[in-house]
């Protein structure tokens, strides 16, 4: 990554030398993918901070499921909740889904064909990107320290306090 970005690391990082102004983190759509994203963001925040300050860092949004309607175009959804909502809406609208293998779950990016990945995640025409912005550097810093630091107790407290915000649980 250091070589690819071409701008060094840490103290030596020179934002003028960055070779790409769009660095897209693309990980699996499940919780392990989210974990990897947090780890990568930590690296970028701690050692290549200007990338984030300048807004060069983006997150790709690969889908989690594909709904294979038999009488309509296939739909891609990005979370369990969205899947349930779309399923309900689709069935109400008279769409049919095969009983067997009607919902495909993309556990990993590797489960997609290259064309699927292009259509859903990579095609600039149709993709959704999330640009990572930094609103409050001091707060962000303390979040990184809590989540990635050595103090287990504060991490545990954070988890307990925020456990109700979880959108879904991937088991």
């Amino acid at each position: 990554m250091i070589t690819a970005f071409g701008a060094g690391i840490g103290e030596d990082f020179d934002p003028d030398k960055v070779r790409y102004h769009k660095i897209v983190l693309m990980a699996d759509a499940d919780v392990d993918g989210q974990h990897i994203t947090t780890l990568l963001l930590t690296l970028l925040f701690r050692y290549m901070r200007p990338l984030i300050d300048l807004g060069y860092v983006y997150l790709a949004q690969p889908p989690l499921y594909r709904l294979k309607w038999t009488n309509a175009d296939h739909e891609y959804v990005y979370s369990d909740r969205e899947r349930d909502a779309l399923m309900e809406a689709g069935i109400a609208a008279g769409k049919r889904i095969p009983k067997d293998n009607g919902v495909q779950r993309y556990k990993g990016l590797g489960e997609m064909n290259h064309q699927e990945l292009w259509d859903t995640t990579m095609n600039p025409e149709s993709r959704t990107l999330l640009q990572v912005t930094l609103d409050d550097a001091a707060m962000a810093d303390s979040v990184f320290s809590t989540l990635m630091g050595e103090d287990v107790e504060s991490r545990r407290t954070f988890i307990q306090q925020n456990a109700k915000d979880v959108r879904f649980l991937d088991i």
Binding site: P15, H21, K22, V31, D32, Q34, H35, T37, T38, L41, T42, F45, I52, L54, G55, Y56, Y58, L59, D100, N101, G102, V103, Q104, R105, K107, N123, P124, E125, S126, R127, T128, L129, L130, Q131, V132, T133, L134, D135, D136, M139, A140, V143, F144, L147, V152, R155, R156, F158, I159, N162, A163, D165, V166, R167, F168, L169, D170, I171
Partner: protein
């Protein structure tokens, strides 16, 4: 937001055109971090690394067991390749790595990991040491008979099922777990921000605690805890070994956290004329290969003495057997104590009894595990009974239809014969016999042979039997006491079949703390102190008894005009205390130093009690500093000093030896005498010294002791 996608601050990079479809939203770094991390953390905590309090399984193990049950890899069938099981688990239930699944399966097989293995294995499943299992294409597996108890009654609607990861099939969200698996097999797991470590227990003990709870459902928490702790003596590790003391166990059981000291079982054997320590049982989760390497390293570094050789003689036939050959002059007990102190031969099990309760991780005392399991069992029994009741009622309903048809057999046959279609016959039957559609269809499906008179009696009997069952099921559903009795009976049955004796011995009242005395051999010896400030010790067996004409043994060879002032017998387990005329006391604990073990008394001149003269102090505060006297520096003293230093470097490599630098933190103890000496080198320190020895009492103070608070014995001179 569309199109506004180029990075700010880039001078020459023109905006890129993404067309109308591309969308870029913004997300705050801090928010994204918190959200993603929380998602990950919560799913690891709830759905991956921690066991459910009811069946004691993590999802991967639950899926392995259910997939084996579902796929027909049952105890009464032949073994199947592990790859098949892993494939089933991964394809149907567990969308994660195959190696993780295989590792979980292997652990279920290994008798040294599981107190009661839940899978049976055929082939190489590794060793407790560094040998892993063979690849899954070689090994074979099926459920262990006990694992059937984990899924028993699962087909009778006893537990909830949920969609699997892709919604194509269903999996149980919990297993019926007809025995208290979490306490019995224990669990280890590291989640995010929290971890669990539950030791395994003996099935009989845990079951008897559960039975007590079933018999006394109204007992308050405190008496339940007491009753459980009376029955469950402590963890019972698959590898046996010993547990030292009960304090850690009680902490763990009362609060959910406690440190339990485990110790290997070691016997002393004479093998080919050499004394050997043979380690036959290791503490739980101690890797014997790494242990042997660690011991060898410590011996090489000189931190462990008395060991000549280490041989691992473990095998399938002998079981665990690590042989430590001792040097000829080593004291087995002392070497062993040092092994306990410095290696995993004695190890702590840090119990942290955390499990998922209603979707939330909680640290529980032991009664929590029992009550949650019992509640789960009651639910299983209630649901099973309700299921059976519904089935019995459905069957009885059909039989009642049969009986009505048999009562009016001729009309029924006539009706069927004159009906044009099945539907017409069915409708006719419903009218004729006043039965519903279900019964009418069943009557039409009757085989002709069941119209025989004897068959009629059978149907009658069946109906009566079903009525009896229905009444019974209703009684069970109405009576919590009956439900508890059923749980008790079925648990007792399991214990009778699978219960076994405790493997880990618990030694009460000893917590494994060792004092210096446990780590050095006790030897009787003679201590000689001269007025000139020399001290030495000689093993008393050097003063062998002599017969007629013996020349005697010279106790000490003295320097000119020096005299032996003190001469007494003591042992290496006593302290030497030196009282100075200024009211201070110095002590030597480990009386092996200073002195020489091997030097015979003929040549022994002793070590100078203070290695250097006029230099202020010596580096090692264990040396009695006030012995020093400003002797003229001669070649002899300097050589003695060098010898002394060489001796210390040789025997205490871990200590610091720079003579001008006392070890950190010791300076204050060097006290006034030292400073005085620095300021006035000519002033001699006190020379009148009385040496006493005493047994070690409870309280120990380093360096100067307050004379008022300790008792001393007069030396046995």
């Amino acid at each position: 937001m569309a199109d506004d996608t180029t990075g700010a601050g880039s001078g020459d990079a023109g905006p890129l055109d993404y067309g109308p479809g591309g969308r870029v939203s913004q997300v705050d770094l801090q928010l994204e971090m918190q959200r993603s991390y929380l998602d990950y953390a919560m799913s690891v905590i709830v759905g991956r690394a921690l066991p459910d309090v009811r069946d004691g399984l993590k999802p991967v193990h639950r899926r392995v067991i259910y997939a084996m049950f579902d796929g027909g890899y049952r105890p009464d069938k032949a073994y199947s390749k592990c790859s098949r099981v892993v494939g089933d688990v991964m394809g149907q239930f567990h969308p994660h790595g195959d190696s993780a699944i295989y590792d979980a399966l292997v652990r279920l097989v290994q008798p040294w990991s599981m107190r009661y293995p839940l899978a049976a294995g055929q082939g190489n499943f590794g060793s407790p040491g560094n040998d892993g299992a063979a690849a899954p294409r070689y090994t074979e597996t099926k459920m262990a008979p006990l694992a059937m108890e984990m899924v028993r009654d699962i087909e009778e609607d006893t537990v909830d099922f949920q969609d699997n990861y892709d919604g194509r099939t269903r999996e149980p969200s919990i297993l019926p777990a007809r025995f208290p698996n979490l306490l019995v097999n224990g669990s280890v797991g590291i989640a995010v921000g929290m971890a669990t470590n539950i030791p395994p227990h003996n099935l009989r003990e845990v079951a008897s605690a559960a039975l007590w709870h079933l018999e006394n459902p109204d007992a308050d928490r405190e008496s339940l805890l007491e009753a459980i702790m009376q029955r469950v003596k402590g963890p019972d590790f698959p590898t046996g070994a010993q547990i030292l003391g009960v304090k850690g166990i009680h902490d763990a059981y009362r609060t959910g956290r406690g440190s339990i000291t485990m110790r290997a079982v070691v016997t002393v054997e004479e093998i080919q004329g050499r004394t050997c320590l043979v380690i036959t049982e290791l503490p739980y989760q101690v890797n014997p290969d790494n242990l042997a390497i660690k011991i060898a390293d410590l011996v090489k570094e000189g931190k462990l003495g008395g060991i000549a050789d280490i041989r691992d003689e473990s095998s399938g036939r002998t079981g665990q057997r690590l042989v430590i050959v001792l040097k000829r002059d080593a004291v087995a007990k002392v070497v062993l104590n040092n092994l306990y102190k410095h290696t995993q031969l004695q190890d702590n099990f840090g119990a942290n009894m955390l499990a998922i309760v209603d979707g939330v991780p909680r640290t529980l005392p032991i009664d929590g595990f029992i009550t949650y399991w019992v509640t789960h069992q009651i639910e299983v029994i209630v649901r099973r009974t309700a299921f059976r009741l519904a089935k019995a009622e459905a069957d009885a309903h059909i039989l009642r239809g049969y009986l009505k048809a048999l009562d009016a057999l001729d009309e029924v046959i006539a009706l069927i014969r004159r009906s044009q279609t099945t539907e017409e016959a069915r409708d006719g039957l419903m009218q004729l016999l006043d039965v519903d559609e279900l019964q009418a269809t069943a009557i039409l499906n009757l085989q002709l042979r069941r119209l025989a008179a004897l068959e009629r009696q059978k149907i009658q009997d069946q109906a009566e039997e079903l009525e009896r069952l229905i009444a019974d099921y209703q009684a069970i559903l109405a009576s919590p006491e009956r439900q508890r009795t059923i749980v008790s009976d079925e648990l007792t049955e399991i214990v009778d079949r699978y219960g076994d004796d405790r493997r880990t011995e618990i030694t009460f009242g000893f917590d494994g703390d060792m004092s210096v005395e446990d780590l050095i051999p006790e030897e009787e010896m003679v201590v000689t102190v001269t007025r000139g400030g020399y001290i030495k010790r000689t093993r008393s067996d050097n003063y062998r008894s002599q017969h007629r004409g013996g020349k005697g043994v010279k106790g000490a060879q003295l320097r000119a005009d020096d005299v032996v002032e003190h001469f007494f017998v003591t042992t290496t387990h006593h302290w030497l205390l030196f009282f100075t005329t200024t009211g201070r006391v110095y002590r030597i604990e480990d009386v092996r130093d200073p002195g020489s073990r091997t030097r015979r008394q003929g040549s022994a001149r002793g070590q100078p009690a203070r290695p250097a003269a006029g230099r202020g102090d010596c580096a090692d505060p264990r040396y009695p500093r006030l012995f020093r006297r400003a002797a003229p520096r001669t070649r002899d003293t300097s050589r003695a000093r060098q010898e002394d230093r060489a001796h210390r470097v040789r025997h205490e490599p871990h200590r610091r030896h720079h003579r001008d630098q006392p070890p950190r933190g010791r300076q204050s103890r060097l006290g006034d005498a030292r400073r005085r000496l620095r300021r006035h080198p000519s002033r001699l320190p006190p020379r009148h010294v009385v040496a006493l020895h005493r047994r070690r009492f409870g309280s120990a103070a380093d360096g100067a002791l307050d004379l008022g608070c300790d008792r001393y014995e007069v030396p046995r001179e």
